[in-house]
């Protein structure tokens, strides 16, 4: 099993009264809350943490893209990845990713990812998320009715740009390019492995299963709640006639490791509560605009609603609707608001404990969900750099050795980068001294 050290880069100094005084961490968050001096410190510390994780033995470092929010401050993950490509010489660069529909034309993604693959010597994982509604529709103004079509067309263009032998014309519905000629080209051939981060969209499961892409379920609500989603994905893999290779799937999970469970609870309570209560404080009105979900997903939800209604036959239709609305809001990002740390641990949002306990729960999670890639969040909320590094070191030195073997004897990871041989890979050269 591969473990990727994944950073969201949350803004660490949201005020204590944030949830009561502000309606949302995303889209219309008060710009006055951002202090650029905090930003300066934060970005540098966060890059330190990623570099440290790569140096102590994580298989990869992971980053992603969000906009107009304090939940995750990476509008451009490629900027961070470019920095890491030079300073993390062995780790995979898992960029999850570029939200394809937000790049116009999307050939920009093909170019920048190819640059990253060249700089890193073939260590890039190319992630293509649709993006959250807050990012794509509200912050970037994409039309929900055409977002997914634009997204799929963009990926088609990128893949063709990476693999075509000749300059070609691309006459898409949304991108029209007379000359497509991607320079540079990726080191990995035919292209870097493709991972698709997603929520619970049935169409995404089917597409990943059919196309052979790795599916990542980026829920922050714990592995216990993720079981149904992952079972849905594996059913699609089975239906597509493909083997259930665990490396075709991944899951995001918060970890808090300490010498004892009691110490872990003490250490990680505050950053977890900060993350779940403040960073996920999203106004429900931003979470579910019409057109964002595919009709298959809407139908699935409606059928679930009908089943519930059948069980509660005496309930009036209007009450059912309100209940579904409430339930949808609960499934949204703000689900964990005002939840205690004990509840988060109990529900599996955060795996905490001593290294043995964490390893045991992680293996249980990986087996239940059947995943070969763990996006491990060892920094969350307002965690200090020192604590993040402590957590990271314990995870790398005492947990990873216990979980790394999982699946290796049965399955090959076909979704992991295939870099140039070490001997052929460039590393940053020492700067020559210059006499002044």
């Amino acid at each position: 099993m591969k473990t990727i050290w994944f950073h969201l880069m949350p803004y660490p100094e949201l005020p204590d009264d944030f949830t009561s005084e502000h309606r949302s961490v995303w889209v219309d968050i008060d710009p006055g809350l951002f202090d650029a001096r905090v930003g300066h410190r934060m970005y540098n510390e966060y890059i330190d943490e990623l570099e440290f994780a790569a140096s102590v033995g994580f298989d990869g470092v992971g980053i992603n893209e969000h906009h107009s929010n304090a939940y995750g401050l990476m509008p451009s993950p490629n900027l961070i990845a470019a920095s890491l490509a030079r300073t993390c010489p062995d780790a995979a660069l898992v960029v999850l990713g570029d939200s394809v529909a937000l790049y116009n034309p999307p050939i920009r993604v093909a170019e920048e990812f190819a640059m990253l693959d060249c700089i890193s010597g073939g260590r890039l994982v190319a992630g293509f998320p649709v993006g959250t509604p807050m990012d794509t529709l509200y912050a970037y103004g994409n039309n929900p009715a055409t977002l997914r079509e634009r997204y799929h067309e963009g990926i088609e263009l990128i893949l063709k740009a990476w693999t075509a032998d000749d300059v070609f014309s691309f006459n898409g519905k949304y991108s029209k390019l007379r000359y497509v000629n991607c320079w540079p080209r990726p080191v990995q051939q035919p292209h870097p492995p493709i991972w698709i981060p997603g929520g619970g969209s049935i169409d995404t499961w089917q597409w990943c299963a059919r196309a052979g892409y790795s599916y990542l379920y980026l829920s922050y609500f714990g592995y216990k709640a993720a079981l149904k989603t992952m079972q849905g994905f594996w059913k699609c893999v089975e239906d597509a006639g493909r083997p259930a290779n665990p490396f075709q799937a991944g899951f995001a999970q918060f970890f808090g490791v300490a010498d004892s469970e009691a110490e872990a609870i003490e250490l990680y309570r505050e950053p977890a509560e900060y993350f779940f209560n403040r960073c996920l404080h999203v106004y429900p009105g931003f979470a579910d605009p019409p057109g964002y979900k595919t009709l298959a997903t809407v139908r699935n939800g409606a059928e679930g609603m009908v089943e519930r209604a059948a069980r509660e036959a005496s309930e009036r239709a209007q009450q059912t609707t309100k209940k579904a609305e409430r339930k949808a809001a609960q499934r949204s990002f703000s689900a964990a608001s005002h939840m205690s740390f004990e509840q988060m641990v109990e529900k599996g949002y955060v795996i905490v404990g001593n290294p043995d306990q964490v390893a045991e729960k992680t293996i249980e999670m990986a087996k239940q969900l059947r995943i070969g890639h763990v996006m491990s969040l060892c920094h969350f909320g307002n965690m200090s750099r020192d604590l993040a590094m402590h957590n990271t070191e314990l995870m790398a030195t005492k947990v990873l050795p216990q979980i790394r073997h999982l699946w290796d004897d049965e399955w090959q990871d076909r979704w992991w980068p295939t870099p140039l041989p070490v001997a052929d890979r460039m590393t940053p050269s020492p700067r020559p001294s210059v006499s002044r």
Binding site: V27, P144, A145, Y283, G285, G291, E303, V306, A317
Partner: protein, 257 residues
Amino acid sequence: MIDFAQWKAGSLEIWREGDGPTVGYLHGMVCAPGRQSFVPELASRGFRVIAPSLPGYARTSPSVDIRNIHDWVFALSEIIDAAGLVGAPLVASSTGAMLALELAAMRPEAFSSLVLVAPLGLWSDDRPVADPFSTTLSGQRALLTRDPTATASFFDDSAAGDLLVDATIQRYTARTATASLVWPIPEFGLAERMHRVSCPVTLVWGSDDQIVDPSYAEEFAARLRDVRGRHVVDGAGHLVEWDDPRAVASLAAAAFG
């Protein structure tokens, strides 16, 4: 009576009500053929009302060809051909009113007269048109009409089982169609084309419109060639014909009479 015509995207649902001279009705952000009192109210004033459902609304198939306002206007042009509405007077509401103006600007024979209820299509930075989707479903209802129960036939479900699933999908598809018309800002250059609208126009606004401020009526009137009347219906919200069907039917009957 509700029947179906065929057009390039598949089925086109058309609600026909009453006898007399033909009058069209083009819905706005919500649509409930057979279950909206405005249509019989208008028909009762001696008209044959023809009310097509736009692509994605009710049982008219969504059109995969529609990606921008240009495509929407061409779709409407084909729909009035298929529905037999060319040259008829038309009541159009909200997003439908915006589309009607766009079509009238490029196809002068499309409508003989227009009664427009709170059209979208213009934008003023100091009075931004509200975003009807950055809210919950209940919040959206409260934005659309003064009385949130006025649109119950669109938002509430009386069906069960598979019919409830179908109704949920239909509502989602309709809301997606509206989103495709207004996202992110429902201003597509209409201000530069509106002077080409040659037919007489009557403007109707609800006094409590939460989506398009009633003061926008002045902006429309300043750009249109032939405005015959401007009316504010007290106590009505954005979708005036849902809040006060009688008032809009009376204004339309007077305009078309």
